[in-house]
Amino acid sequence: MDSLTIIAVTSIITAGITIGFGAIGPAFAEGRAVANALTALAQQPDASSTITRTLFVGLAMIESTAIYCFVVTMILLFSNPFWNYFITQSGN
């Protein structure tokens, strides 16, 4: 295999692994957060506005870890710096 093929294969496999593992953690965390928020809502319906607002902020914060993994995946797939470097090298 030449270096371009190795880069392509490792980039694709790493992208899959990154988004897969990056989705697991936030999924569990969001499930726990929503479950606890529902319990809190059932116990204190009066505080629903505060709980919902805090829940949304918390969910977006948790989700951002998944978004980081997604950004890395997108960079690996669509604007891979190593790939671009070797393409320009072979072009010259």
Partner: protein, 242 residues
């Protein structure tokens, strides 16, 4: 497939590029400027108000309430900076309902510059409220050993703020692009609606995180108030258990 609106270049002269990010940011600035001029003309202090003034008052009072709920004591002082951040990000994300519009927040350069504004504003308000010496001493807060970690935290949270907004908006446009390839009939509309919700939530998150960072930098003696609030529930609880 393009990752950000930076890659759509309309006009180029040497190193100077006019890409979609810059163009749509200018459009947003023009919209803000014109609407502010029109709204300013209709402002009155009498009872007979226009509906635009009522809308503006709802927005201003809402932002003020959110800032004070974070713990900043004098919200009007931070209104100019934090309110502009919220309104800019919210409008940039909401205008995706217009066809052909590319949200400038879907580019890392826009979000990073907004985050750098927060990065500068936090020490500015901190020094203004507490004085230079007191603010710098807050970096060595628990012990002097924590100094490098506090500095790293300051930088990494700025970067996280930028990547969070960029990633959310970029993933929204990316999902719509993928949906157009596999199911181009109804699903892109549903995803656009979801993207509008995410955009508003992200604008709120960006604004509230910036206010939390400023509140943390400006609050004096926050450790003392924390210990006081921790003590008081225990004092109330003990008689109840008996």
């Amino acid at each position: 497939m393009q990752l950000s609106p930076d890659e759509i270049v309309y006009w180029q002269l040497g190193a100077i590029k006019l890409n979609a990010t810059i163009l749509f940011t200018w459009c947003l600035i023009v919209i803000f400027f014109i609407s502010a001029k029109i709204l300013e003309r209709s402002l009155r202090q009498t009872d007979k108000r226009t509906r635009w003034q009522n809308a503006l008052e709802i927005i201003v009072l809402g932002i003020e309430k959110q800032i004070s709920s974070v713990g900043l004591s004098n919200p009007r002082q931070y209104m100019g900076f934090l309110g502009t951040l919220f309104l800019f990000v919210a409008l940039a994300n909401l205008l995706t309902v217009i066809p052909g519009y590319e949200p400038p927040t879907g580019s890392l350069s826009t979000t990073l510059s907004l985050a750098l504004c927060v990065f500068v504003a936090v020490p500015y308000y901190g020094i203004k409220q507490r004085g230079l010496k007191d603010y710098l001493a807050s970096y060595t807060q628990p012990t002097i050993i924590m100094l490098p970690f506090n500095v790293i935290g300051e930088i990494s949270r700025t970067f996280a703020l930028a990547v969070r907004l960029f990633g959310n908006i970029m993933s929204g446009t990316m999902i719509i692009a993928i949906m157009l390839l596999i199911a181009p009939f109804i699903f892109p509309i549903v995803m656009t609606a979801l993207g509008l919700l995410t955009g508003m939530v992200q604008a709120y998150i960006f604004f509230i995180l910036a206010s939390v960072y400023i509140a943390a930098a400006t609050s004096v003696n926050n450790t003392q108030t924390l210990t006081q609030t921790h003590k008081s529930p225990q004092l109330i609880k003990q008689p109840q258990e008996k």
